[in-house]
Amino acid sequence: MTPELLFDFTVNKETKMVFITREFNAGLSLVWDAFTRAELLDQWVAPKPMTARTKRMNFEVGGSRFYAMIAPDGQERWSLQKYLSISPKTNFKQFNVFTDADENPDPNGSEWDFNFSEANGKTTVHISIYNESLERLLSILDGFTQGMKMSLVNLDNLLDTLSAK
Protein backbone atom coordinates (compact mmCIF):
# COMPACT_ATOMS: atom_id res chain seq x y z
CA MET A 1 0.00 0.00 0.00
CA THR A 2 2.87 2.31 0.83
CA PRO A 3 5.80 0.99 -1.17
CA GLU A 4 8.35 3.24 0.51
CA LEU A 5 7.94 1.39 3.82
CA LEU A 6 11.01 -0.67 4.64
CA PHE A 7 10.66 -4.45 4.34
CA ASP A 8 13.55 -6.80 4.86
CA PHE A 9 13.39 -10.58 4.98
CA THR A 10 16.42 -12.82 5.34
CA VAL A 11 16.81 -16.50 6.10
CA ASN A 12 19.95 -18.07 7.47
CA LYS A 13 19.65 -21.75 6.60
CA GLU A 14 22.70 -22.68 8.66
CA THR A 15 21.55 -21.16 11.93
CA LYS A 16 17.87 -21.85 11.12
CA MET A 17 17.04 -18.22 11.78
CA VAL A 18 14.63 -15.94 9.95
CA PHE A 19 14.95 -12.17 10.31
CA ILE A 20 12.12 -9.88 9.33
CA THR A 21 12.06 -6.10 9.57
CA ARG A 22 9.09 -3.99 8.57
CA GLU A 23 8.21 -0.33 8.96
CA PHE A 24 4.60 0.73 9.56
CA ASN A 25 2.99 4.05 8.92
CA ALA A 26 1.45 4.24 12.41
CA GLY A 27 2.38 5.03 15.98
CA LEU A 28 3.92 2.55 18.38
CA SER A 29 0.78 2.01 20.47
CA LEU A 30 -1.32 1.01 17.48
CA VAL A 31 1.31 -1.35 16.11
CA TRP A 32 1.87 -2.91 19.53
CA ASP A 33 -1.89 -3.50 19.85
CA ALA A 34 -2.04 -5.02 16.36
CA PHE A 35 0.57 -7.59 17.39
CA THR A 36 -0.76 -8.33 20.86
CA ARG A 37 -4.57 -8.25 20.73
CA ALA A 38 -6.47 -11.25 19.46
CA GLU A 39 -9.25 -9.38 17.63
CA LEU A 40 -6.62 -7.36 15.73
CA LEU A 41 -4.25 -10.27 15.05
CA ASP A 42 -7.14 -12.22 13.54
CA GLN A 43 -7.59 -9.43 11.00
CA TRP A 44 -4.15 -9.70 9.45
CA VAL A 45 -2.04 -12.76 10.29
CA ALA A 46 -3.73 -15.09 7.83
CA PRO A 47 -2.86 -14.35 4.21
CA LYS A 48 -6.19 -14.14 2.38
CA PRO A 49 -8.10 -16.24 1.41
CA MET A 50 -7.12 -17.93 4.64
CA THR A 51 -8.58 -16.64 7.86
CA ALA A 52 -7.33 -16.71 11.44
CA ARG A 53 -9.45 -17.48 14.49
CA THR A 54 -8.16 -17.11 18.03
CA LYS A 55 -9.87 -19.50 20.38
CA ARG A 56 -8.33 -17.92 23.46
CA MET A 57 -5.54 -15.49 24.20
CA ASN A 58 -4.03 -14.35 27.46
CA PHE A 59 -1.26 -11.87 26.71
CA GLU A 60 0.90 -12.07 29.81
CA VAL A 61 4.11 -13.85 30.75
CA GLY A 62 3.22 -17.54 31.09
CA GLY A 63 0.00 -16.95 29.16
CA SER A 64 -0.74 -18.18 25.66
CA ARG A 65 -2.75 -17.84 22.47
CA PHE A 66 -4.42 -20.84 20.88
CA TYR A 67 -5.52 -20.16 17.34
CA ALA A 68 -6.19 -21.67 13.95
CA MET A 69 -5.41 -20.73 10.39
CA ILE A 70 -8.40 -21.76 8.33
CA ALA A 71 -8.13 -22.57 4.64
CA PRO A 72 -10.98 -21.75 2.23
CA ASP A 73 -11.96 -25.45 2.24
CA GLY A 74 -12.47 -25.25 6.01
CA GLN A 75 -9.29 -27.12 6.95
CA GLU A 76 -7.90 -25.84 10.24
CA ARG A 77 -4.26 -25.66 11.26
CA TRP A 78 -3.89 -25.04 14.98
CA SER A 79 -0.97 -23.38 16.75
CA LEU A 80 -0.11 -22.53 20.31
CA GLN A 81 1.95 -19.47 21.25
CA LYS A 82 3.33 -19.22 24.77
CA TYR A 83 4.49 -15.84 25.99
CA LEU A 84 7.97 -16.04 27.51
CA SER A 85 8.62 -12.37 28.27
CA ILE A 86 6.88 -9.02 27.73
CA SER A 87 8.25 -5.47 27.96
CA PRO A 88 5.23 -3.34 27.02
CA LYS A 89 5.57 -1.50 23.67
CA THR A 90 9.21 -2.57 23.36
CA ASN A 91 9.64 -6.31 23.14
CA PHE A 92 7.99 -9.65 23.60
CA LYS A 93 9.14 -13.22 23.13
CA GLN A 94 7.04 -16.26 22.41
CA PHE A 95 7.37 -19.95 21.77
CA ASN A 96 5.34 -21.22 18.82
CA VAL A 97 4.31 -24.77 18.15
CA PHE A 98 1.85 -26.43 15.79
CA THR A 99 -0.77 -28.52 17.55
CA ASP A 100 -3.84 -30.54 16.77
CA ALA A 101 -7.30 -29.24 17.62
CA ASP A 102 -6.85 -30.56 21.18
CA GLU A 103 -3.64 -28.59 21.77
CA ASN A 104 -1.34 -31.62 21.52
CA PRO A 105 1.90 -30.06 20.29
CA ASP A 106 4.32 -31.17 17.55
CA PRO A 107 7.76 -32.18 18.81
CA ASN A 108 9.49 -29.10 17.36
CA GLY A 109 8.62 -25.45 17.76
CA SER A 110 10.15 -22.06 17.17
CA GLU A 111 11.17 -19.10 19.28
CA TRP A 112 10.08 -15.63 18.23
CA ASP A 113 11.52 -12.33 19.35
CA PHE A 114 9.59 -9.15 18.51
CA ASN A 115 11.15 -5.69 18.89
CA PHE A 116 9.25 -2.42 18.44
CA SER A 117 10.56 1.12 18.06
CA GLU A 118 9.07 4.40 16.87
CA ALA A 119 10.70 7.26 14.98
CA ASN A 120 9.14 10.16 13.04
CA GLY A 121 5.63 8.77 13.42
CA LYS A 122 6.62 5.42 11.93
CA THR A 123 7.04 2.21 13.86
CA THR A 124 9.66 -0.39 13.02
CA VAL A 125 9.18 -4.01 14.01
CA HIS A 126 12.09 -6.46 14.03
CA ILE A 127 11.19 -10.12 14.25
CA SER A 128 13.68 -12.93 14.62
CA ILE A 129 12.54 -16.51 14.50
CA TYR A 130 14.62 -19.46 15.59
CA ASN A 131 13.37 -22.82 14.39
CA GLU A 132 14.30 -26.02 16.12
CA SER A 133 14.37 -27.76 12.76
CA LEU A 134 14.71 -26.52 9.23
CA GLU A 135 12.06 -28.97 8.09
CA ARG A 136 9.69 -27.30 10.47
CA LEU A 137 10.55 -23.87 9.11
CA LEU A 138 9.80 -25.09 5.64
CA SER A 139 6.72 -27.02 6.69
CA ILE A 140 5.16 -23.72 7.71
CA LEU A 141 4.78 -23.17 4.01
CA ASP A 142 2.76 -26.31 3.37
CA GLY A 143 -0.39 -24.88 4.85
CA PHE A 144 0.01 -21.66 2.94
CA THR A 145 1.13 -22.50 -0.57
CA GLN A 146 -2.28 -23.49 -1.89
CA GLY A 147 -3.81 -20.21 -0.84
CA MET A 148 -0.97 -18.02 -1.96
CA LYS A 149 -1.77 -17.40 -5.59
CA MET A 150 -5.33 -16.49 -4.75
CA SER A 151 -4.20 -14.32 -1.89
CA LEU A 152 -2.06 -12.11 -4.09
CA VAL A 153 -4.98 -11.53 -6.42
CA ASN A 154 -7.13 -10.72 -3.38
CA LEU A 155 -4.62 -8.23 -2.13
CA ASP A 156 -4.46 -6.48 -5.49
CA ASN A 157 -8.24 -6.14 -5.46
CA LEU A 158 -8.21 -4.79 -1.93
CA LEU A 159 -5.55 -2.23 -2.76
CA ASP A 160 -7.45 -1.14 -5.84
CA THR A 161 -10.55 -0.62 -3.70
CA LEU A 162 -8.61 1.40 -1.18
CA SER A 163 -6.80 3.60 -3.66
CA ALA A 164 -10.12 4.29 -5.42
CA LYS A 165 -11.41 5.87 -2.20
Binding site: M1, T2, L5, F7, F9, V11, K13, E14, V18, I20, R22, F24, N25, A26, G27, L30, V31, D33, A34, E39, L40, Q43, W44, V45, A46, P47, K48, S133, L134, E135, L137, L138, I140, L141, F144, T145, M148, S151, L152, L155, L158, L159, L162
Partner: protein, 119 residues
Amino acid sequence: MRRDIFQAIADPTRRAIITLIALQAMTPNAIADNFQTTRQSVSKHLRILTECELVKPQQQGREIYYTLEIEKMKEVDKWLDQFRQIWETRFNQLDIVLANMSAATAKNVSSPANKKQKK
Protein backbone atom coordinates in the same frame (compact mmCIF):
# COMPACT_ATOMS: atom_id res chain seq x y z
CA MET B 1 10.98 -43.31 2.78
CA ARG B 2 10.80 -40.40 0.42
CA ARG B 3 13.57 -37.87 0.87
CA ASP B 4 13.41 -34.23 -0.05
CA ILE B 5 15.82 -31.41 -0.56
CA PHE B 6 15.21 -29.94 2.89
CA GLN B 7 16.47 -33.08 4.56
CA ALA B 8 19.57 -32.81 2.43
CA ILE B 9 20.49 -29.35 3.66
CA ALA B 10 19.46 -29.95 7.27
CA ASP B 11 22.84 -31.55 8.06
CA PRO B 12 26.06 -29.47 8.38
CA THR B 13 28.30 -32.13 6.77
CA ARG B 14 25.97 -32.41 3.81
CA ARG B 15 25.95 -28.63 3.42
CA ALA B 16 29.75 -28.71 3.41
CA ILE B 17 29.74 -31.45 0.76
CA ILE B 18 27.36 -29.38 -1.35
CA THR B 19 29.68 -26.38 -1.06
CA LEU B 20 32.70 -28.49 -2.04
CA ILE B 21 31.23 -30.08 -5.14
CA ALA B 22 29.57 -26.83 -6.21
CA LEU B 23 33.09 -25.83 -7.30
CA GLN B 24 33.98 -29.04 -9.13
CA ALA B 25 32.91 -32.67 -9.50
CA MET B 26 34.74 -34.84 -6.99
CA THR B 27 35.26 -38.51 -6.14
CA PRO B 28 34.08 -39.82 -2.75
CA ASN B 29 37.72 -40.19 -1.66
CA ALA B 30 38.58 -36.62 -2.56
CA ILE B 31 35.46 -35.43 -0.70
CA ALA B 32 36.33 -37.53 2.38
CA ASP B 33 39.83 -35.98 2.48
CA ASN B 34 38.15 -32.70 3.46
CA PHE B 35 36.46 -34.11 6.55
CA GLN B 36 37.59 -35.51 9.90
CA THR B 37 35.01 -38.22 9.51
CA THR B 38 35.15 -41.76 8.12
CA ARG B 39 34.87 -42.62 4.46
CA GLN B 40 31.70 -44.62 5.35
CA SER B 41 30.10 -41.58 6.89
CA VAL B 42 30.81 -39.50 3.78
CA SER B 43 29.39 -42.32 1.64
CA LYS B 44 26.23 -42.27 3.74
CA HIS B 45 25.83 -38.51 3.24
CA LEU B 46 26.48 -38.89 -0.48
CA ARG B 47 23.82 -41.59 -0.64
CA ILE B 48 21.27 -39.29 1.05
CA LEU B 49 22.22 -36.39 -1.23
CA THR B 50 21.83 -38.69 -4.24
CA GLU B 51 18.42 -39.88 -3.02
CA CYS B 52 17.41 -36.23 -2.64
CA GLU B 53 18.56 -35.74 -6.24
CA LEU B 54 20.82 -32.92 -5.13
CA VAL B 55 23.96 -34.66 -6.39
CA LYS B 56 24.48 -37.06 -9.27
CA PRO B 57 27.15 -39.76 -9.47
CA GLN B 58 28.84 -40.06 -12.86
CA GLN B 59 31.17 -42.85 -13.85
CA GLN B 60 34.37 -41.57 -15.48
CA GLY B 61 36.74 -44.43 -16.22
CA ARG B 62 37.23 -46.33 -13.00
CA GLU B 63 36.16 -43.46 -10.76
CA ILE B 64 32.78 -42.11 -9.75
CA TYR B 65 32.51 -38.33 -9.68
CA TYR B 66 29.73 -36.52 -7.81
CA THR B 67 28.31 -33.35 -9.35
CA LEU B 68 25.87 -30.85 -7.89
CA GLU B 69 22.38 -30.47 -9.39
CA ILE B 70 22.19 -26.67 -9.39
CA GLU B 71 18.55 -26.59 -10.56
CA LYS B 72 17.50 -28.64 -7.54
CA MET B 73 19.24 -26.20 -5.19
CA LYS B 74 17.11 -23.42 -6.61
CA GLU B 75 14.02 -25.17 -5.21
CA VAL B 76 15.10 -24.14 -1.72
CA ASP B 77 15.21 -20.51 -2.74
CA LYS B 78 11.82 -20.79 -4.40
CA TRP B 79 10.33 -22.11 -1.17
CA LEU B 80 11.96 -19.39 0.89
CA ASP B 81 10.67 -16.82 -1.54
CA GLN B 82 7.14 -18.06 -0.95
CA PHE B 83 7.71 -17.66 2.78
CA ARG B 84 8.79 -14.10 2.16
CA GLN B 85 5.65 -13.49 0.11
CA ILE B 86 3.45 -14.74 2.94
CA TRP B 87 4.97 -12.12 5.22
CA GLU B 88 4.63 -9.45 2.59
CA THR B 89 0.93 -10.31 2.25
CA ARG B 90 0.44 -10.33 6.01
CA PHE B 91 2.09 -6.98 6.45
CA ASN B 92 0.10 -5.43 3.64
CA GLN B 93 -3.01 -6.64 5.46
CA LEU B 94 -1.66 -5.17 8.68
CA ASP B 95 -1.12 -1.81 6.93
CA ILE B 96 -4.85 -1.77 6.24
CA VAL B 97 -5.74 -2.73 9.81
CA LEU B 98 -3.49 0.04 11.13
CA ALA B 99 -4.95 2.58 8.72
CA ASN B 100 -8.42 1.68 9.96
CA MET B 101 -7.30 1.91 13.59
CA SER B 102 -5.71 5.32 12.96
CA ALA B 103 -8.88 6.54 11.28
CA ALA B 104 -11.01 5.29 14.19
CA THR B 105 -8.73 7.00 16.71
CA ALA B 106 -8.80 10.24 14.71
CA LYS B 107 -12.59 10.29 14.62
CA ASN B 108 -12.62 9.65 18.36
CA VAL B 109 -16.29 8.75 18.06
CA SER B 110 -17.37 5.22 17.34
CA SER B 111 -19.45 4.97 14.20
CA PRO B 112 -22.65 2.86 14.26
CA ALA B 113 -20.79 0.16 12.30
CA ASN B 114 -18.16 -0.07 14.99
CA LYS B 115 -19.58 -2.52 17.51
CA LYS B 116 -16.42 -2.67 19.64
CA GLN B 117 -16.55 -0.50 22.73
CA LYS B 118 -13.52 1.76 23.03
CA LYS B 119 -11.91 1.69 26.43
